[in-house]
């Protein structure tokens, strides 16, 4: 890549912002200054009015490969991620077969290496994600895996979870839990409440999530092993985790854009594109999530990008699989949730890049084996995984123009404000003017 000069954008650091020129050369941030002279052969981009910050990091993407390539491949997901501004994604292990050993992890890492962005892997906690026997976490950790989860299904058995936390602690990795007690969720397909009772759909009570949050907080207290809470969806779950973190427990949490933009009311028409686990919740939960986001109480926004082949979303509601696309619109939705024209860019990058990079151990100071550094503080010399976000750009989601192989977005035809304009990842210009290069 020829040297690239981003002119007069708002450069977003960890605690301050300033309008400056950013020169990228040789895969690193060469210079940040009020005015940088462009060396010969430099591509100059005028990014006035845009935010220049670290490339986004998604802690939670289902890439579907191996096993469900009709819905998504590592390659198509990487392109979708790039359009969404992500320079790194963490691949969830609920593939078929599950990523529960070093060979499968190596396969995904190798496939990911051929894409324009960094693909990290979360390994399974238990063999086959069955929640019974521990997966070989140490051999996966040796390949650089820093996050383990059975996502899609929480580890139901408290004894197994306790064992997993105890085993993982000395490995320097973090477990991540999908909190839903399946016995209490009892086959439910949407949030339990007045609406589920009216629609005649079996409910998944908020308590089925909260009770596992409570249980796991106590297991963390017992074992001392760090734990990340995936896609928290209720006010109470969030409050529990925030309080525990204040107490000093090594816990972190993420929320997903659909949980802070959509409420259960979206299900009134039985459209399976709105079916997700944990389910879309009550309005008061959505409000609580938005408040927590703006306050910086949440460590990360993660997409839970879950592609499904179209025919599966044409099944009856109770038979259709749960999950929705997320990578291509998460940045816009987060920006909107923080307030169009009011959003604090530091919070924005903390939620979408620096927070997740810290949790996934993808930063320069983390001991990673093969990936470049993400979540940059925007200092000279850092790896140039960078994004340019235009907070003024308006656009409309169309399922027909997604990079993802699947089309199960709940936001089709929705008008959005704020869009990723440019992405520089792994030393290359990946997205330019909102298009893949």
């Amino acid at each position: 890549m020829s040297p690239l000069l981003l002119r007069q954008g708002l450069v977003v650091g960890t605690s301050s912002t300033r309008v400056a020129d950013v020169l990228v050369d040789g895969g690193v941030i060469r210079e940040i200054a009020e005015r940088v002279a462009a060396p010969a052969g430099t591509t100059v981009m005028d990014v006035e009015g845009c935010w220049v910050g670290p490339g986004l990091v998604d802690l939670h993407a289902h890439l579907r490969e191996p096993g469900r390539e009709e819905a998504e491949t590592i390659d198509s997901a990487a392109r979708a991620a790039a359009i969404g501004g992500y320079s790194a994604v963490v691949a969830m292990p609920n593939t078929e077969p599950a990523l529960d050993n070093a060979a499968l992890v190596a396969y995904v890492l190798a496939r990911g290496a051929t894409t324009p962005i960094d693909v990290a892997v979360a390994g399974a906690i238990t063999q086959g994600r069955r929640g019974e026997l521990l997966a070989p976490m140490a051999e996966m950790a040796a390949l650089g895996v820093r996050l383990f989860t059975d996502d899609g299904m929480g580890v139901q058995n408290p004894s197994v979870m306790r064992r997993a936390l105890t085993y993982a602690k000395p490995l320097g990795v973090r477990l991540a839990q999908h909190c839903e007690d399946e016995a209490l969720a009892a086959g439910g397909v949407m949030n339990e409440g007045a609406l589920s009772s009216r629609l005649g759909l079996a409910g998944r009570p908020a308590l089925s999530e909260e009770i596992m949050v409570m249980r796991d907080l106590e297991l963390v207290r017992l074992t001392g092993c760090p734990l990340h809470f995936l896609h928290l969806s209720t006010a109470r779950s969030l409050a529990l985790v925030i309080a525990a973190r204040r107490e000093g427990l090594p816990v972190t949490c993420e929320v997903a854009p659909h949980h802070f933009t959509l409420d259960e009311g979206a299900l009134s028409d039985f459209d399976p594109n709105f079916k997700v686990h944990p389910p879309l919740r009550a309005t008061r939960d959505v409000e609580a999530l938005r408040v927590a986001l703006a306050r910086g109480d949440v460590d990360a926004v993660a997409t839970d990008h879950a592609p499904h082949a179209p025919e599966l979303k044409d099944l009856p509601f109770d038979e259709a699989p749960a999950g929705m696309l997320g990578l291509e619109h998460a940045a816009s939705l987060t920006y909107e949730a923080l307030g169009v024209g009011e959003a604090d860019p530091i919070t924005f990058f903390s939620l979408l890049s620096r927070g997740p990079a810290r949790i996934a151990q993808l930063r320069a100071q983390d001991e990673r084996v093969r990936h470049g550094a993400h979540g940059a503080a925007m200092l000279e010399g850092e790896d140039a995984n960078l994004v340019v976000f235009d907070p003024a750009q308006r656009w409309t989601v169309s399922r027909d123009s997604l990079q993802s192989r699947a089309v199960n977005t709940p936001y089709n035809h929705r008008a959005m404000t704020g869009r990723v304009r440019t992405l520089i990842a792994k030393g290359s210009l990946v997205v330019d003017e909102g298009r893949l290069t």
Binding site: A194, L201, F270, D271, E311, D314, L315, P316, F317
Partner: protein, 325 residues
């Protein structure tokens, strides 16, 4: 919705009082048609009505198909429950196949809540009549229950239903008993009765009530015996053992003891109290056999009224739409 004319019937929730009264009044004229020697009118001549039953229900299917035939519609009867169409087939594919045969309307029964609504999205040019979807709605049952109640009350007052509109429902006290959690009939009944102006109470063991009744315009009766004495109409619901009711009450015997219409309870009832049940009855569970056969039960009438109500629904929904013949 102010009138069913030209519309799909997916739920009773969004039907206005005037729309429901219009259906009941139209059904009244079809009662007369059903008493003729030739029980057939050409209103839907040349129209094709597909009946798609993903869940077998001989009674409802026969009732709908009889209704369609008495309107001179051609009926395509597809017994989906016994065909290869089982779990895992996309609703879009199934309905596309049927639609390719050239249909004006589809009557649909499905084991999943919302299936009729989903199908109506895939074929907006076809009128979809929900013949029962999962635990969501069973609109024609709700309508025929309201029709039956109006018919009986009108007869007692020496008037005709159509002359009363919805007047006979004002202040009428209706008690619905049993497995409300899993019952699509209960959801449609409540919508119909409340829209028409009746007061509705429900009674059931706590586990058979929906998780959250705040969206239901009903009150919960704490005392079953008192509620029975209060009611003008007692609507019993089928205990849906196939939907796993078994794990919601300890034993059927205990359910009968706490919430069944036993012979003892029936004897204490006001003789004018109308007893209803959508069928099929679990005799000895929701209701004692001897009570089923009492003259004040309306159960046979409910079955009889199924045809005129479904004729009215098909007629209003399908006639007056589509290409000119």
């Amino acid at each position: 919705m102010k009138s069913l004319r030209g519309q799909s019937l997916l739920s009773l929730e969004d039907l206005s009082r005037e729309a429901i009264v219009e259906i009941l009044d139209t059904a009244e004229t079809f009662v007369e048609v059903n008493q003729r020697t030739i029980k057939k009118v050409p209103a839907l001549k040349g129209r094709v009505v597909a009946s798609l039953f993903f869940e077998e229900s001989t009674r409802t299917r026969l009732s709908f198909e009889t209704a369609a035939k008495r309107l001179s519609a051609d009926v395509l009867s597809l017994a989906m429950a016994s065909s290869s169409v089982k779990k895992g087939e996309s609703l879009r594919d199934t309905i596309a196949t049927v639609d390719a045969l050239g249909i004006d309307a589809v009557v649909m029964r499905h084991h999943s809540s919302g299936a009729a609504l989903q199908v109506s999205r895939y074929v907006p040019h076809v009128r979809v009549i929900n013949g029962g979807d999962g635990q969501h709605q069973h609109p024609t049952q709700g309508l025929l229950d309201a029709f039956t109640v109006r018919q009986i009350v009108a007869e007692r007052e020496g008037t005709r239903g159509p002359e009363s509109g919805a007047e006979l429902f004002q202040g009428l006290k209706i008690l619905i008993v049993g497995d409300l959690r899993h019952s699509r009939v209960a959801r449609s009944d409540v919508n119909a009765y409340v829209t028409l102006g009746a007061q509705v109470r429900v009674a059931a063991p706590g586990t058979l009530l929906p998780d959250d009744l705040s969206s239901w315009p009903v009150t919960v009766a704490d005392n079953f015996e008192e509620a029975l004495a209060w009611a003008d109409v007692v609507g019993l619901l089928r205990l849906q053992q196939e939907r796993g009711t078994g794990s919601y009450v300890p034993t059927l015997h205990e359910f009968t003891a706490t919430h069944g219409l036993t012979i003892e309870r029936a004897q204490r009832l006001n003789p004018a109290t109308i007893i209803m049940h959508p069928g099929p009855i679990n005799r000895g569970v929701e209701i004692d056999s001897r009570v089923v056969d009492r003259p004040s039960t309306a159960i046979d009438r409910q079955v009889t009224n199924g045809v005129p109500i479904r004729m009215a629904v098909l007629y209003l929904s399908v006639a007056g739409t589509g290409e000119t013949i």
